[in-house]
Symmetry: C3
Subunit: 469 residues, 3 copies
């Protein structure tokens, strides 16, 4: 067709049409496009790099594990059974791929489309748009490439110019795969992140068993409050020994608490006996955020909170497929009141960094920027999840910068399960920051030399500093 682009991706993608702004954006982007990638928060698997086995076929690699993809397909009536969601091995990966391909138009205007086109073009050399007509071509080309040495996990890690990659791990994880990577002598920096939800959230599936297991692993009495806290502290130390610099907390809200020791002991007992009601469970999670902050002040691990998701909203799918099936939904939350107990204790501590994320964009200008623009411990994480998109990133800068500046933010997180999307996601983030900076320069609100310095800080320096890398 004569009106469409000749390639899947354009050198000026995401840059504004206005020639003045586009030229500034191009110049600033040139200064950051080739900086190494730092990925301090994400959900790739250490096992990929430990074993370095080839990635599977296109459907298993790209469609089946990506809830952004199958939630969109599902929303338009594609059945999860047809996509073989949940299957260990796909019976008919080509058929799954074809379903995806013929519905690829659904992703118009979405960030999924952006990163997939980038990967199709940059990694696999594909040039025609994915559709029913090109489904088999894509399947064949990608399948073939995935079997070559250049597409093994370690080779891609190097090709992507990754400097550091953090995974997200349960305190019950042995981290043997992280150990295996280290033992292998392969030059890389893949580190774990301490995510204690399974042992601090009473609503987490298997909470009691998890606690018992934590006790075993650490040889602490995890059914006493003090033993439980020691078990957590020693697990943090174990993570730290393998390079971990941060913790992460996925609570329903950002609520924190400051209970007396006696009250905490009593609450822990109630929770452990399974007698806690919804309010007490919330209070327990709240107290645990404060305990984690206290430990961070002691051991220096950077703390991250990802709150505000109503998990497993689609009850029938949850019963059938379990967690992470794409039916987690954001809810309105508060930070100013919720964080007050924790900040009253540790908000002014020198050796403490707390990075806040949100799914509720209304908090950017109202709560997060004012908080981070004041408390020395606070930093703002980049746009998360549904907000991790060109528009979402731009709204973040527009709503946050004027109150918190650039230097209370921490650069980009790709936060992804999709390893192949990492370069595309960082590229989008760098481009959007350049778009924002180009506007400030074009409107004479910032000089271009400053914009370049800020762009480099956003792409590289701030993340290293914030995560103590």
């Amino acid at each position: 067709m004569s009106t469409r682009a000749m390639a899947l991706i354009h050198d000026d993608r995401l840059f504004p049409a206005d020639p003045v702004m586009r030229n500034i954006a191009r110049r600033v982007y040139q200064e950051v496009r080739d900086l190494p990638l730092i990925s301090p928060h994400g959900h790739t698997q250490a096992g990929w790099f430990a074993s370095n086995r080839p990635f599977p076929d296109p459907a298993k690699l790209l469609v089946q594990p990506d809830h952004y993809i199958y939630r969109m397909l599902y929303s338009q009536g594609v059945s999860l059974a047809d996509l073989e969601i949940g299957a260990e091995e796909l019976k008919d990966p080509r058929r799954v791929w074809r379903i995806f391909a013929e519905n690829y138009y659904l992703f118009r205007g979405t960030p999924t489309r952006l990163w997939l086109d980038y990967a199709f073009h940059e990694l696999f050399g594909l040039e025609e748009r994915l559709s029913a007509a090109t489904a088999d071509l894509y399947f064949d080309v990608i399948s073939e490439r995935l079997l070559t040495p250049e597409f093994r996990p370690r080779a891609l890690y190097e090709r992507f110019h990754i400097e550091l990659l953090a995974t997200t791990d349960s305190p019950l994880d042995s981290l043997s795969e992280h150990q295996a990577i280290r033992d292998s002598g392969w030059k890389s920096r893949i580190i774990p992140t301490f995510r204690p939800d399974p042992v601090v959230d009473p609503d987490f599936a298997g909470f009691e068993k998890n606690l018992a297991k934590l006790g075993e692993i650490t040889a602490e009495n995890s059914s006493s409050w003090d033993g439980y806290l020691r078990a957590l502290a020693s697990t943090r130390a174990r993570f730290k020994a393998l390079g971990c610099t941060a913790t992460d907390h996925g609570h329903p809200t950002a609520q924190t608490a400051n209970l007396s020791h006696a009250d905490a002991v009593e609450l822990f007992g109630t929770v452990l006996e399974g007698r806690a009601d919804a309010h007490q469970k919330e209070l327990f999670r709240a107290q645990m955020l404060t305990e984690m902050a206290r430990m961070s002040v002691e051991d220096g691990l950077v703390m991250q909170i990802h709150p505000g998701s109503f998990r497993n909203h689609n009850q029938k799918l949850y019963e059938r497929y379990g967690r992470d099936i794409g039916a987690d939904m954001p809810i309105a939350i508060d930070y100013v009141r919720a964080l007050h107990p924790l900040l009253a204790l540790y908000g002014n501590e020198k050796n403490f960094t707390l990075i806040l994320f949100t799914l509720d964009e209304t908090t950017y200008s109202r709560e997060l920027a004012p908080l981070a623009g004041h408390y020395p411990c606070l930093r703002l994480g980049p746009p998360w999840w549904f907000n991790d998109s060109p528009e979402g990133m731009l709204r973040f800068r527009e709503q946050v910068t004027e109150t918190a500046g650039f230097y209370n933010t921490v650069g980009f997180n790709d936060d992804t399960r999709a390893f192949l999307s990492i370069p595309a996601r960082h590229d989008v983030a760098r481009r959007i920051d350049c778009v924002w900076l180009a506007r400030l320069v074009a409107e004479h609100r910032l000089d271009e030399d400053e914009a370049v310095e800020v762009a480099r800080d956003l792409a590289y320096n701030l993340v290293r500093k914030a995560y103590k890398l």
Copy 2:
């Protein structure tokens, strides 16, 4: 004056100044500007088309029934008495028109200005801006035209190139005017919408009497829970027989419930006896949304919810003038928790479509796009009421597209009482969609052939599909 436009409306109105984007927007718009209009949700009156009598004078036609107009005038100190609001016949329509004309500057920057200028120019050939100086000219020209055959309701329906027009109707309405249109042999498609608020909302004026009347009409015992539900089901069938494809629900919140039959029977009893408190009334409305969803699964009627309005906020005006006097105010609401009971039951049903609207824009990116981007039954209605404006429409696309895509939205609703505004409103919606698409194309996020396809879907195909037309 030399600096002003030569005509009331400009061919490029609403298109961005940037020439690259403007040219793309123009090209895409050319592909959709002449598509027929489909109006699946609104508040025009079937009686106009049944009788095909001329519309009254300019003041009675344009000022008196339009709460957007008189709320703005009232906010600046114009008295409703001077506007003859509430009068059956205007004593001095020219005087009312003059008051409006001399205050027309108040509408600068509002969508009311946009559609009125469009109608003044396109329908009445007026070229000078409305003001005190041109008030009489306008009054005379419009009055004269309204008496011509070309300005009768049916002629305008045809001139506007309307393919379908849905009204909004009480279950107590005989729909005789819809029947009369059908019987007249006039080639058109004007259909009712089932809006049961008067018989499902205990706070609706005359609720008990309405229920009794419902029983009479349907020959069901509407004072028993099961008889009441049968009465509703048979009324839905009566509407369906006259072409109705959808229901609509104007509740204060989006709350749904899933009561046992016994609990529902008891609650119904409490409500019927007038003993229900605010919480029980809310629970009853919540249960009724779920009952309506159940019936939709059975009879296939598409369900719409328009929640989140604090009705009749201005107490004195309500006492004096009754409902719909322009004093309804939006409030913050929640969808994720509120819809959970209903979605747990019917969220994965194939034969069910639930279209959600909002007056709380914060829910676009936080709740509505994630919900609609997952549940197969859910679709997002266009920007509603105060948000039905160029900026509001643009914010909708910017905040919704990246998570829900284009295909979980349902095209445009004019949702208007002002018949003459229909072409202008659709034109604004089409232009703004083209503006959004032009930006995606200009920034190399979408190819232009795709943008054209999406524009046609948004203007015509999606609405037909969503409303089962």
Copy 3:
């Protein structure tokens, strides 16, 4: 450096890059740039103008009193002790200035940077960017100028072309400095604003003592409800006699109430005895807003409400430094329900103006614009505090105009403690309004002659009308 601007500020600053829009913005701005400044709400000190003493050194003048500046520095680890915050006299102002200068990069992209660069350039003739390298140059130049007659408060007032300046004052203030200004014969218009928080908010430090003092000053029995109300009314009259035209109310929420006289008497007793719980204190504040509205209907003082701030969030700093240390944080609030009691009583009064402000931008389109677009008494104050910035101002116009128009807004408030920032702040507001109007003109939504008229109204006429100046 070759890429940076030659001067600190650019003639086209804040105007869009697009040449069509920029040219319109320039033309419209020419019509308003030199209009006199009206500052109807702010926190400058009458004493400056009464005594007309020179302002102190740069650190004491610019850094120490400005919580925007030291909150940003503090958020990045600068200690408040090093900034000599709270000190009556600075021991080492040059050292404080150097700390600020070397951290000036933190303010990139913030409104603080905008107004400081404007003041550095326009008032002090500085041309090189502030940094560690230029810190001493700045300190010396500014120090020297501040000692000249041209930099005395009255001279600057005249140079800034201020037509009216309102301060914000406690009912316990004698207003002797306002009287002194009047007595001095200096031609100016500096007026007080009645801000009764210290005597109507039971949570205000020293509330009981403040009430006793109010009784003394007014010779009323301020421990009886009726005497208390009379004391407030007579204090309002005292303020009015010195030119005051407005009151201001800084409550945590916008809650209002309509208690019977008996209930109010009882509540007042409970509050006075110190027995009121949090709910009762809130109810008391709510009732007091309604009482203030009633008095405004009687005495014609314009009422302003600035709600939604969680005051003194950083407990340790509050204990060490007291109020206003930059740790006030916005919270989500509601207006539609909260104002209902007050509006039910006075919402339709002719002689009543209530100006609403917000720190919660989500209320712009959802609540504030619909309310102000209907109630004749309501007007919307400009973007406040964290929102008083180019992006914040633009969001305000984008979200408010379509529903409330321009004429339900009240022009600009600088709302500042920083006297030197006044011209810059008004200039930013005028420029941003021109940017918004230029977009409407460029998109053919408004004619340019109308845009000029609106710009003049926003810059000058609306504020005079709204504040009855």
